[in-house]
Symmetry: C2
DNA sequence: TTTAGCACTTATTAAGTGTGAGTGCTAACA
DNA sequence: TGTTAGCACTCACACTTAATAAGTGCTAAA
């Protein structure tokens, strides 16, 4: 069992190592600890903490660095979140000022704000209701054989895609097809829509078109786009500061993971947890490349419009109490901003 | 005046330094030169080349590296472009296979292909006619107060943007406004459109709406989007390989220049020259950050649909003859692909 | 004009040397 | 029993030194 003073020592080691990034030794601890004991005493405490696996030496005679287990313990038991400063709060509110035309604009902006505020990398996922449903579908002819397909979903996302129609499709058939979509599919959850597009819808359309495939491909493509969650990243290049130049490969693979629009990000952020704010560290991060990094994941709630996620990727040695306080304020500001955005549609 | 052999030496220095990235000395030159003379003789030639400012020492007793002036001389007088290999050609054609729905998809894909092929960074700018004109404008209501504005231009680009209408706008007025746009503005070059939107159009609209500002702002925004050229970058992260880890700041500033959608890129690629392929080096590159890099700019022609640009950013020590040959093949393949795309609309 | 030979320069690498920060342990102390 | 002073020990880091290898310029002879 660890004594009270030993916990203080751990806390101070974490504090100093996030400040300086260097291993911390018994003397500098002695100077800053609230209790006044000699460095030898502190060394004994440090030995105990090391036995418990909470701190590490970088070499046999070096100071100590918190281990992953140490951070985890700190986060679970010791941390005292600092409330966001009024200045930060004002910065956030000001940065969210102005009008937004599109849901995605707000989400993208949130990633930018958060990364500017922290100098880390922010990842923002828009609000997602448990079952998004299709609320609108349009097909707009643009001249030539070009058409633009537009799809609106219940969480306010709008997806559009340009298409070139095959020459043999006539316009009255298209109109009928659109009517079928609007009659039969609008209002249903997206997964049901996807199911019906494969089963009964082709049959229905057969009445009006000889080959509904062309049309259904278009519809299916935009549908897929709407179903896949879109995420925004702010402060990509901050990675270069906190990963550093020594591990170029890590830097490269993290950057490409963030750029690539594959499922990696969703896997990273994991299922939306039931805790508002969660920290993932070391092995808890799924792609191994992120081993020495840390991810703070915050979920926010926009009522009927679902829950979203905003996350902060940084080094293991983050000033957690400040960051968690900041993120907590941020998620509620973001929720506020989104709620006011949604007011336009209800 | 330089002798024939001295030019051979220069050529070989450039060849070897692009291969190894290291300064090259008289002995290794002796081994690979087509003429057989002693290393001492070559040293004399090298001294002459250095006097002419075409090659440099990295330190007083090192081998030689081509100077910017040396590369420039090589490019202007000595280079013999290698035709693209049949394999490369096949790769390009295969990568362009498949169907594209949108002009921008082809342009974006071209940047990807070129960067994969070369392991450098590719920048692609779509075709631009001297005066792009407005060929279509649509405003699609999406429910709530949301509308999507879509604008089509004569070079095949489609730009769209989502908007939230103020509550006090009524739909019949909007319809009238759209008719005015289609009657008075469609068919005109974009710059004329921009002019009229400021002068006579507001007056016309006054007849139907009390405050046409809201509508005109929407229209103006999409117009601005359509007028600003969009570019695509492939192989961003290749920068990390050829800039290298030593100059982190350069890496960072080049990356952010490429990501930011400011005018920097247009300035970089400069006015479309009258030569099909042009190389810019050293001081010739406008942002100083690019000093030690090299940019190969290729222009291509799609007839009435204008001319586009595709460029390759790499280290000064690029295998120019291969790259120029490759780019020459690439630009004609890209033009071919675009021509066949445009066939859908003429 | 070309070449062999030689003195000279410099980067790179390895090995050796202090120095300083930090540790563990022991023995004395409260 | 917990705390402290003292001391020997370890290791990274910065610095010096020496050896090596690659390359140059110059001179004198062919």
């Amino acid at each position: 069992m660890l004594t009270k003073r030993q916990l203080l020592v751990l806390k101070e080691i974490i504090r100093q190592s996030t400040e300086t990034g260097q291993p911390v030794g018994s003397k500098s601890l002695m100077a800053r600890l609230p209790v006044h004991v000699s460095s030898a005493t502190i060394r004994n405490d440090m030995a105990a903490l090391e036995d418990a696996g909470l701190i590490l030496k970088t070499h046999s005679s070096s100071g100590r660095v918190p281990s992953t287990k140490g951070y985890r313990f700190y986060l679970d038991h010791l941390i005292e979140p600092t409330a966001a400063s009024p200045m930060d709060l004002a910065t956030i509110q000001q940065a969210f000022g102005g009008t937004y035309h599109e849901l995605d604009d707000i989400v993208a902006q949130s990633a930018r704000i958060l990364s500017n505020l922290t100098n880390y990398t922010a990842i923002s996922l828009g609000p997602e209701v448990a079952s998004v449903s299709l609320t609108g579908f349009r097909l707009v002819p643009l001249g030539g054989q070009q058409v633009m397909a537009i799809l609106v979903t219940s969480n306010g996302a709008v997806r559009n895609q340009l298409f070139t129609l095959p020459a043999n499709v006539d316009s009255s058939a298209i109109e009928k097809a659109i009517r079928i979509v609007n009659d039969k599919l609008v209002g249903l959850p997206l997964n049901e829509v996807a199911k019906k597009v494969q089963s009964e819808v082709p049959e229905l359309m057969m009445h009006y078109m000889t080959t509904p495939d062309g049309f259904l491909n278009i519809f299916g493509d935009v549908l897929k786009q709407a179903a896949s969650e879109r995420f925004y990243v702010g402060g990509r290049l901050n990675l270069m500061d906190f990963i550093g130049t020594d591990d170029m490969n890590q830097l490269k693979s993290v950057l490409s993971m963030i750029d690539a629009d594959t499922g990696d990000i969703n896997q990273l952020l994991g299922p939306v947890g039931n805790v508002p704010i969660e920290v993932k560290l070391g092995d808890e991060l799924t792609p191994d490349t992120l081993k020495n990094l840390s991810l703070i994941i915050a979920n926010y709630d926009v009522g009927a419009h679902g829950t979203g996620t905003i996350a902060l990727l940084g080094p293991s040695a983050m000033p957690y109490s400040r960051m968690i306080g900041l993120l907590d304020a941020f998620r509620s500001e973001l929720a506020k901003r989104l709620t006011s955005y949604y007011k336009n549609f209800d």
